[in-house]
Symmetry: C2
Subunit: 275 residues, 2 copies
Amino acid sequence: MNFLNQLKEITKKNNSLLCVGLDSDLEKTPAHLMSSTHPLFEFNKNIIDQTHDLVCAYKIQIAFYSACGKEEDLVLTVDYIHKNYPTVPVVLDAKRGDIGNTAECYVKEAFKRYKADALTVNPYMGFDSLQPFLDQKDKGIIILCRTSNPGAKDLQNLKIAGKPLYQHVATKAAKEWNKNNNVLLVVGATYPKELAEIRAITGDMVFLVPGIGAQGGDVEAAVKNGVDTAGGGLIINSSRGIIYASKEKDYASVARKMAEQTRDQINQYRHAAVS
Amino acid sequence: MNFLNQLKEITKKNNSLLCVGLDSDLEKTPAHLMSSTHPLFEFNKNIIDQTHDLVCAYKIQIAFYSACGKEEDLVLTVDYIHKNYPTVPVVLDAKRGDIGNTAECYVKEAFKRYKADALTVNPYMGFDSLQPFLDQKDKGIIILCRTSNPGAKDLQNLKIAGKPLYQHVATKAAKEWNKNNNVLLVVGATYPKELAEIRAITGDMVFLVPGIGAQGGDVEAAVKNGVDTAGGGLIINSSRGIIYASKEKDYASVARKMAEQTRDQINQYRHAAVS
């Protein structure tokens, strides 16, 4: 099944727009897991077992694994999700982008080696740098549009013919780059006004929304400005706010509480937005 | 010694602006090396032994190693260069870019794990996404500006207040982001007019120039439009055109011939440009 259909089904089944971000940091791993050969995988496994019925996806930030040479933990984590909770898709957050033969290598990295269901990519190098990713019809290709960090404005808000760059990216993504109906956009929760503008441009395209939780984005404003006409169309990510809500042995059960609370908070505004 | 000083010395010593790109592809590795545990490293080692006195740097495209899980080959390659040819710096071509704590992970990946001397980064997410890289004072931080691929124009040539986006990136890089004097730019050889415009904006900043060789960029035009006032300021990369000039057992000695020829061709135009 392709990523977007899988997402639609799990969103309904788990009644959730919440994505838990497995930005699992070796330096923050609880002491009792550090003797394992695969401490990041053991950490993730417990989080996944506790949250799989509350999420619409998991997002794995590759940088945390490559910083410390824990590629195998990443492989094991995706395998674990696919085997035990096959309805829950996995987004690899790698923000890749490069030309032809190099982009083909990144396609292999994300989809053959790590078996991700979706991947974040950077549009700065233009269409031909995105094409090898977009050609993967069953995968979700999530293009950076308006990111959640303060510096995002440096380039993304520069105005071209009266409209900021991120709106041009949204327009290209919706009208030119989405031939295979597999494009999504990254739009930060920290700028809800921009979320509404991009929603107006792209119709019912799905957005990956970082920036709630540790980054301080307002959940209510993000949901109200971001949902599509059916009250969905969002993958709202929280990483540190959930997985490191406790740094003790009880971290996975605390993560469950935080995930449940965040999912319910999102749903409250989501239902208000379309009622 | 910091990257830019090291680059200046080796450029002089080897009389070379040529960078050999170790885009070493498992699928193109000669058969006699495939029984090795580290076939990409063995491949690279022979290329390096044959070309170290002809280059100003090596550039390693990380995607080729991560596509097939050969991170260890990358580590061994950088170690080999640092131990045997310590005057030749290593550029890791990874085009990373992400926010705060994730960018810190990419800093660790590039400079602690792989011990690169310089790294390519993507500016789309703005200054705060670049800062953790720019804080590495001794490293070269090479920001994508005008890339060598046809699709580069999709975003990079959009006009803001009459000037294309890539010129805004060049201006920010030169005037705002270069507090530690460690910024370089990626400017493709395939658009020599743009090379001249960016040279005019940035003074004597060093450019990493991809696009000659397999990508078809015109060496003469790139050198004449790109050199700084002293006839340097360029790291001109060729990857496939050198390392796969032969796909047989003689690949390393053929690579040497191609490297020598390319270096000399560059020097011919370089000396003409400042004479």
